[in-house]
């Protein structure tokens, strides 16, 4: 069936309507993208360079040359660089171990790897602060008493350490998948040609997984550059800033005045430039593109026997994993249970008072409620929007579909902080609509932030729905609308459900976006935890944090269960 392009137009013309269903959907898509994506981005650029209608680069210049901002820019790049490099090395190491060697306990390690994906890094930062934050940190106290030295987690290296522990799975996932599914004859061929095992790894296996490594590394890079949570918790007290935290600082210090937000806009431009430059550099340094190395035949690749090094490697791997993944989580629970921060972590000191006071505190229940509401609404709306746009781009294929695609995916590479600033500038009254201090401004920011997720997952699902399935329905007597309802929609429903959770889960636990947009009554869960630890109520912050962990874990499990047995396309 080669003549598919434009046939939908044929069908529409055949139906003889003036404004076809397809046309309406296309227009709607453009309008919605305009409101959600284009306007906030435009406002940032405008307010950074224009003042009261005239071009005025003064502000931008001042911001650019401010040593505090230059320092923040430098920190952002430095941290992201080290996190990417070390995170990649660690990810590749574990991918190798699990994908190609005969190390035992692979199931256990894989389960441990999924934990960083579930929890927001700022909780980890909080936990490490409890352990190694200055004199009061529990681990520091023990180290001082035993060895006579302390470690300082409130430092650039501290930030790097915590971020690595949350981002290395990005590389791990990509590389282990490539290693496991690689066609084994590619390596067998090299051995027949005379190459020994190590040479095969060096000359064949590694180059072939390079695209997977590169993809994972890119993900780490972008995420770190845009990250707010860890640098804010570990950096503020020492005056260490990155661009995202600097933007927050500028807006906060100016106490919501317009001047502060303009500063934020200028800084946002700087951040976006940094991200773009990083992307360009990465593209040149590591080749992108993928090789077709995955084969259909279910032959397992030959596992390398570790022999003598098996036990040491196993111990090393598990210990490292426990240290960076399990220890922080456990810490949070322990501190939540202890009757006072700083007291010994022994059962005698355990109490539930922290939990009681947390739930008595003003705003806790509200924050949970707000997060749930915002995440559910954002999830549903994003899912519908993403599906709508994916359908328009793939099936209707109007002129300008390239533009639709770009606009819907653009926010993915824009830092959450920047999107928040843009949303503030757009919807705080300057255009006639003011959502400021309402939950809706947070929701609108979520829409912009997560639209690309649902767009991608719906796109993938729609690709599986062959046009012949819809055509078969038409020939059976279904009109265009009926075939959409009876065939297309049910087939992509599983992907849409998955898409919903793809947005609901991150939105529930995020803090980067809502920290800039919350008002007195619209705190989110993330903001509430952050505010508590910022005010010094460590025990209560830990208590709420532990509740968040349990909540996230339950939601994740439910999602896994629901999306497991899906029989879709």
């Amino acid at each position: 069936m080669s003549i598919g392009f434009g046939k939908q137009k044929d069908l529409a013309a055949l139906e003889g309507r003036h404004v076809s269903l397809d046309g309406a959907l296309t227009i709607l898509s453009f309008v919605l993208l305009l409101i959600i994506v284009v306007i906030p981005v435009f406002m940032i650029v405008y307010h950074a360079f224009f003042y009261q209608g005239h071009f005025n680069p003064e502000l931008f210049k001042t911001q650019l040359l401010d040593p505090k901002n230059l320092g923040a820019m430098w920190n952002t790049v430095k941290i992201a660089f080290f996190v990417t490099v070390f995170g990649t090395i660690m990810g590749v190491f574990y991918a190798w171990l699990l994908g190609r060697s005969d190390i035992p306990a692979k199931g256990l390690m894989r389960a441990l790897f999924s934990i960083p994906y579930m929890f927001p890094p700022f909780l980890g930062a909080m936990a490490w602060k409890l352990l190694l934050g200055g004199r009061a940190g529990y681990l520091n106290k023990w180290l001082w008493a035993t060895f006579g030295f302390r470690m300082n987690i409130n430092s650039v290296w501290g930030i790097v350490f915590v971020e690595i522990s949350y981002y290395f799975p990005f590389v791990f996932m990509q590389v282990v998948s490539a290693l496991e599914r690689m066609d084994p004859t590619l390596e067998e061929c090299a051995r027949i040609a005379g190459a020994r095992q190590m040479t095969v790894i060096r000359k064949i296996t590694l180059p072939l997984v390079l695209p997977a490594i590169s993809a994972g590394a890119l993900l780490i890079l972008i995420t770190s550059l845009a990250h707010f949570g860890v640098p804010s918790i570990l950096g503020f007290s020492q005056g260490i800033f990155t661009l995202p935290t600097r933007i927050f600082d500028a807006i906060q210090s100016a106490e919501g005045s317009f001047e502060g937000i303009r500063q934020g806009a200028a800084l946002s431009i700087m951040l976006v430039v940094v991200v773009s430059l990083a992307l360009i550099v990465q593209k040149h340094v590591l080749s992108s593109g993928s090789y077709d190395i995955i084969k259909g035949k279910s032959m397992r690749p030959t596992l390398i026997k570790l022999r003598a090094s098996k036990l040491p490697l196993l111990v090393l791997s598990i210990l490292t994993l426990l240290l960076i993944v399990v220890v922080p989580l456990v810490m949070i629970f322990l501190v939540a249970l202890v009757n006072g921060y700083g007291n010994a972590l022994i059962p005698a000191n355990f109490t539930l008072n922290n939990y009681i006071s947390v739930f008595k505190a003003a705003g806790t229940f509200d924050s949970i409620k707000n997060s749930l509401f915002a995440s559910v609404v954002a999830g549903i709306v994003c899912m519908s929007l993403g599906t709508l746009i994916a359908y328009v781009v793939q099936k209707i294929r109007p002129r300008g579909k390239g533009l639709l695609e770009i606009l819907s995916v653009l926010p993915y590479s824009i830092p959450g902080t920047v999107l928040a600033v843009g949303v503030i500038l757009a919807w705080s009254g300057s255009l006639g609509v003011s959502l400021y201090n309402t939950i809706w401004i947070i929701i609108v920011a979520y829409l912009a932030r997560y639209l690309s997720f649902s767009m991608k997952s719906s796109s993938a699902a729609l690709l599986q729905v062959h046009s012949s399935l819809e055509e078969a329905a038409r020939t059976c007597g279904a009109s265009h609308t009926e075939s959409l309802k009876d065939i297309t929609l049910p087939l992509i429903r599983p992907a849409m459900v998955a898409g919903f959770f793809l947005i609901f889960l991150p939105a529930m636990r995020e803090v980067t976006t809502s920290i800039l947009l919350y008002g007195p009554f619209t705190r989110t869960l993330g903001v509430q935890i952050y505010a508590m630890q910022d005010a010094g109520s460590m025990s209560e912050a830990a208590a709420l944090g532990s509740v968040a962990i349990v909540l996230i874990f339950i939601c994740d499990t439910i999602v896994k269960y629901i999306t497991k047995d899906r029989k879709g396309v």
Partner: protein, 363 residues
């Protein structure tokens, strides 16, 4: 009743003219196989019949109903044409059970529930899938999914079913079986079947009539399998089915001769009416119609001899022309084979004569 008429159908896609004034009639209650190389326009024709493409000119009739007429501005929408279709990829809906798949056309045409169940059951009986009624397509094999697609096409009260390469994705054994089953179903129901394929073999086995379509979208020959095989009316048909050799025919003395490239071999034959040497004539002969005969004056040199089991495949040269010769196992057993490097004589049995192609090509 279920007679299909394509009249003067033209269709272009951009600058490509795919169909130009195409005419074809499919008799009621017949299986007509439309065969042609990939890209010749068969699928386009089917889509015009279904209403998924709109032709530029012409008319399409099924029975007494005009489905399309460019002149009279008639264009019945897809969902009202009531033509069953079986696609190459089956297009069985994965989220519905077998029964739901087969009931769908009846649901859309608002057939009352009782009657719908009866007809669905009957259709599933035809394809021997009754016990799978509550299965999901993912639980079925390719062949079973194809049967469901066929049942779904049968279940409407339409008089015409179109099948577009329905068995191409099945393995060889299953293909044979499905062909027999399709034949049997058609015999039972008397539906008109319009069967599109590039696979000549299946078409030959299945059809009542066969239509050969050329690359440029024109109809070459329409006839029974016997007509196509034994009496190909033109060169394309002859060349399209199976393998063929061509040798240019020239004048030699008072009679004819075969142009062997470096010489002319005398040939005892007669040109049929309508062909003249001046316009260029070529002799067409099938590889298994070239028989080794040491007594024959036409001498060839054997370059390659490959044993293929049921026959021996030879590459020989007549002068400088390469010919393919096929010797059946029976012949090899009775009269022996010829080794590579030897020279021997051949007889050309059952030759045909066709106008020479513009760019002189040998097989």
């Amino acid at each position: 009743m279920g007679k299909i008429v394509f009249k003067d159908i033209s269709f272009s896609y951009g600058k490509n003219v795919i169909l130009k004034n195409f005419n074809l009639e499919v008799e009621d209650g017949q299986i007509l196989c439309l065969v042609g190389p990939s890209g010749c326009g068969k699928t386009t024709l089917v889509r015009c019949l279904l209403g998924l493409n709109k032709p530029d000119t012409g008319e399409i009739w099924v029975g007494d109903t005009c489905l399309f007429s460019a002149e009279k501005r008639i264009n019945v929408p897809v969902e009202r044409r009531n033509i069953g279709i079986v696609f190459q990829d089956y297009a069985v809906w994965p989220h519905m059970t077998v029964a739901e798949n087969v009931l769908y056309p009846l649901k859309k045409r608002r057939v009352p529930k009782d009657e719908a169940f009866k007809r669905a059951h009957h259709a599933l009986e035809q394809v021997k899938m009754v016990e799978y009624a509550n299965h999901l397509p993912s639980q079925l094999s390719g062949g079973q999914q194809q049967r469901v697609a066929i049942a779904r096409a049968l279940v409407g009260d339409g008089e015409v079913i179109v099948m577009d390469e329905p068995i191409t994705n099945l393995d060889a054994k299953l293909r044979e079986q499905m062909l027999l089953e399709i034949r049997e179903i058609q015999r039972n129901l008397g539906t008109t079947i319009f069967y599109i394929t590039h696979d000549q073999q299946s078409a030959l086995q299945l059809c009542d009539k066969m239509a050969i379509m050329e690359q440029d979208g024109t109809l070459c020959q329409l006839g029974t399998d016997e007509d196509i095989i034994l009496r190909p009316t033109n060169r394309f048909t002859f060349e399209f089915i199976g393998v063929s050799n061509f040798i240019p025919v020239v004048a030699s003395g008072a009679g004819l001769g075969l142009d062997a490239g470096d010489s002319v071999v005398p040939w005892e034959g007669e040109l049929p009416a309508g062909l003249s040497l001046s316009a260029g004539v070529e002799l067409g002969v099938r590889p298994n119609d070239i028989v080794f005969d040491p007594e024959s004056p036409i001498k060839v040199k054997v370059n390659r001899c490959t044993f293929l089991g049921s026959e021996y495949d030879y590459r020989v040269t007549l002068g400088t022309r390469e010919l393919r010769v096929q010797q059946s196992a029976l012949d090899a057993m009775q009269r022996g084979t010829v080794k590579a490097g030897e020279t021997t004589g051949v007889r050309l049995v059952n030759p045909r004569y066709y106008p020479a192609k513009k760019e002189a090509q040998s097989a």
